[in-house]
C-alpha cells in the first residue's frame, strides 16, 4: 500500500470506526487507538512503512498544536473564573499521580530514577473526552459536574509542565549519570530547557501580534497561525528546548495579549481533527505486541498507583479549598481516563529514550485502553454518588 492510499484508508476507517464505537458510548479516541492497534505492524500490517516512519513528525506537529490550544487555559479571564477548588484539586491530583507512580516504580519495581520519573509524569495526564461523554449522556448538572469539568479541562496544562520538567531532569540524569558534578548540570539543563521555552514562546508572540494586521481572510489566518506554530516547534527542536512548553507559552501569552486572540484558536479547529485522528491511529500502530506479555507487573503498578495518586490528590485539594464532601470523596473517580496527552508525551519519551522508550510507550497504550474502558463506569458512579444524575437517566 502506498503512503497516500494508506492515509486515505486511515482517515476513512478512523471516521467510521468512531461512529461505530459511539453507539456503545465510547469516545472517538478509543476507536482510533484500537484501529491503530488492529492495522498496525503487530497485527494486520495495513499501515504503510512511510506513514509509520513519519510518526515522529506527525506527533511533534500534533503535540505542538495541542500544547498551543492548552495554553488558552491560562487566560486571565479563565483563571479568575474557575476559582480556588478547581486550581487546588487539579494541581494536587496531577502531582499526586506524579509523585505516587514515581515512588512506586522507584521503590517497589526498583526501576531507575529517570524511568520512574517519566512514568510518574505521564500519569499526571487525564483524558477529558470520556469524562465529558458520560456527563453529556446523563445530562449531569451541578457543582460536582462543574468542578469535574473544570479540573479535566486544565489538568493537561499541568501535565505538560510536569512532563517537561521531568523530561529535562530525566535527560540530564540519563546523559550525565557518570559525571561527578551531575546534580548541578541536571539543575541547569532543566532550567535552560524550561526558561528557554518560555522565552521562545514569548518572543514569537510579538511578531505574531504585530503581523496580524496584515491578515485579511480566514484562510490567511489559518495559514498564519499554523505557520507560527510550526516556527515555534521547529525553533524549539533546533534549540533543544521543550516543544510542549514553548507551544503552550505561545498560546498562553497570545491569549492574554491580543484582543481577538480567541480567533487564532478558532481557526485551528478547521484542521486539527484529521491530524488528531492520524496521531491516535499511529499511536495505536506503534504498539509493540511482543513487549506486552512482559509488562504485567509494570502495567498493574502503573494502573493502581495512578488511580490512588489521583484520588488522594483530588481529595487533598478539595479539603484545602473547602470543597463539599461529595467532591472530596468522589471527584478522583472521574479523573481515571487517560488518552491523548499521555500518549503524546509517551511518544516523546519513546523517541528520546530508545532503550526504555518502547517499554514506556507500550505500557501507556495498554493502560490507556484499560482506563478508557473502566473510566466512564467510574465517572458514572461518581456522578451518581454526588447526586447529579437524574434517577430516570441512571436506569437507562
Amino acid at each position: 500500500m502506498n503512503t497516500i492510499l494508506g492515509l486515505g484508508f486511515i482517515l476513512t476507517a478512523g471516521l467510521f470506526s468512531a461512529k461505530l464505537i459511539k453507539r456503545i458510548k465510547f469516545p472517538a479516541v478509543t476507536a482510533y487507538l484500537l484501529l491503530g492497534i488492529l492495522i498496525g505492524p503487530s497485527l494486520f500490517k495495513l499501515v504503510p512503512e512511510g506513514i509509520l516512519n513519519s510518526s515522529g513528525l506527525i506527533s511533534n506537529i500534533v503535540l505542538g498544536i495541542i500544547a498551543f490550544e492548552i495554553g488558552q487555559n491560562f487566560s486571565r479571564y479563565h483563571l479568575r473564573k474557575i476559582g480556588r477548588p478547581i486550581i487546588w484539586i487539579s494541581i494536587l491530583e496531577a502531582c499526586g499521580a506524579w509523585a505516587l507512580v514515581t515512588l512506586a516504580f522507584l521503590l517497589i519495581l526498583r526501576q531507575p530514577f529517570y524511568v520512574s520519573l517519566l512514568f510518574g509524569a505521564i500519569a499526571s495526564a487525564t483524558a477529558p473526552a470520556a469524562t465529558v461523554m458520560v456527563i453529556r449522556e446523563y445530562r449531569a448538572r451541578g457543582n460536582f459536574t462543574d468542578t469535574l469539568l473544570g479540573v479535566v479541562a486544565i489538568d493537561d496544562a499541568w501535565c505538560l509542565i510536569i512532563f517537561s520538567i521531568s523530561l529535562a531532569i530525566a535527560q540530564a540524569v540519563y546523559t550525565h549519570m557518570m559525571a561527578t558534578s551531575f546534580l548541578i548540570k541536571v539543575f541547569f539543563n532543566s532550567l535552560l530547557s524550561i526558561f528557554g521555552a518560555f522565552i521562545l514562546g514569548g518572543v514569537l508572540a510579538i511578531p505574531l501580534s504585530l503581523l496580524y494586521r496584515f491578515i485579511r481572510t480566514q484562510t490567511e489566518l489559518l495559514i498564519f497561525t499554523l505557520g507560527f506554530i510550526f516556527l515555534n516547534i521547529g525553533l524549539a527542536i533546533w534549540m533543544h528546548l521543550s516543544v510542549l512548553l514553548s507551544s503552550m507559552f505561545l498560546g498562553a501569552i497570545l491569549i492574554n495579549s491580543h484582543r481577538y486572540s480567541f480567533k487564532f484558536f478558532d481557526a485551528l479547529k478547521c484542521i486539527d481533527s484529521p491530524l488528531f485522528l492520524l496521531f491516535f491511529v499511529l499511536a495505536g500502530a506503534n504498539l509493540e505486541m511482543r513487549i506486552l506479555p512482559k509488562l504485567g507487573i509494570i502495567g498493574l503498578t502503573y494502573l493502581i498507583f495512578r488511580v490512588i495518586g489521583k484520588m488522594m490528590g483530588a481529595s487533598l485539594g478539595a479539603k484545602i479549598s473547602n470543597a463539599p464532601e461529595s467532591i472530596r470523596r468522589y471527584l478522583g473517580l472521574g479523573l481515571i481516563p487517560q488518552a491523548g496527552v499521555a500518549l503524546g508525551v509517551a511518544l516523546i519519551a519513546k523517541s528520546d529514550f530508545p532503550i526504555v522508550g518502547e517499554m514506556i510507550f507500550t505500557t501507556i497504550i495498554a493502560t490507556t485502553v484499560i482506563y478508557e474502558l473502566i473510566g466512564p463506569l467510574c465517572t458514572k458512579y461518581a456522578l451518581q454518588k454526588a447526586g447529579e444524575i437524574q434517577a430516570m437517566d441512571v436506569s437507562r
Partner: protein, 157 residues
C-alpha cells in the same frame, strides 16, 4: 474617512443576562431571521452576544465555555427534532446560559474599510458597535458598508 458611527444602525434591540429563552424568542418572532443580539448590563455596557447558533445550546447539556478549552473532544451531536425537553425550558434557560462571552465588537470611530476587513476575516455579517467606555451604541453589518460604497459611487443617493 467614513467612520462606523456614520453608517451604523442606532436603533438596536438588546437583552440582559436574565432575559429568558421565551422572552428572547418572542422579541424576534416577527423577524424573518434571528439577528445577532447584543447582551448588555448596567449602563448599556456590552457583555455578550447571542446568535441563532447559541440558541442550539439551549438543547445541549451545557458548559460550552469550559469545553472550548478541552482538546480531542467529540462534538455533541444534538438532534433538535428528537431531543426530549419540556416546555418549562423556555423559562429556565436564560440568556447568560447561552450567550457568547468571547466576541468581536467594533469601536464607533474606526473606518468602514477596517470594519469590512474584520467582517471578512472573521466570517461575520455584523458586529455590535461600542464607544470608548465599552457601551453599546449601535450595530453595523456588511450591507451598511456596501450601501456606503454604493452611495459614494453615486449608484444610490
Amino acid at each position: 474617512m467614513i467612520q462606523v458611527k456614520d453608517i451604523m444602525s442606532k436603533q438596536v434591540i438588546s437583552v440582559i443576562r436574565s432575559t429568558t429563552l421565551k422572552q428572547l424568542l418572542r422579541a424576534f418572532d416577527k423577524f424573518h431571521i434571528f439577528p445577532l443580539v447584543p447582551v448588555v448590563e448596567g449602563d448599556n455596557h456590552l457583555i455578550g452576544i447571542v446568535s441563532f447558533c447559541n440558541l442550539i445550546d439551549a438543547f445541549s447539556s451545557n458548559h460550552p465555555d469550559v469545553l472550548k478549552l478541552v482538546p480531542f473532544l467529540d462534538e455533541e451531536e444534538i438532534d433538535i427534532f428528537k431531543i426530549d425537553i419540556t416546555d418549562d425550558i423556555g423559562n429556565l434557560v436564560l440568556v447568560e446560559d447561552v450567550m457568547e462571552r468571547e466576541f468581536i465588537s467594533i469601536p464607533e470611530d474606526v473606518s468602514i474599510e477596517e470594519a469590512y476587513k474584520l467582517m471578512r476575516l472573521h466570517l461575520k455579517e455584523e458586529f455590535p458597535v461600542i464607544d470608548k467606555s465599552g457601551k453599546l451604541v449601535g450595530m453595523v453589518g456588511i450591507f451598511d458598508c456596501l450601501q456606503a460604497v454604493f452611495r459614494q459611487k453615486g449608484i444610490i443617493k
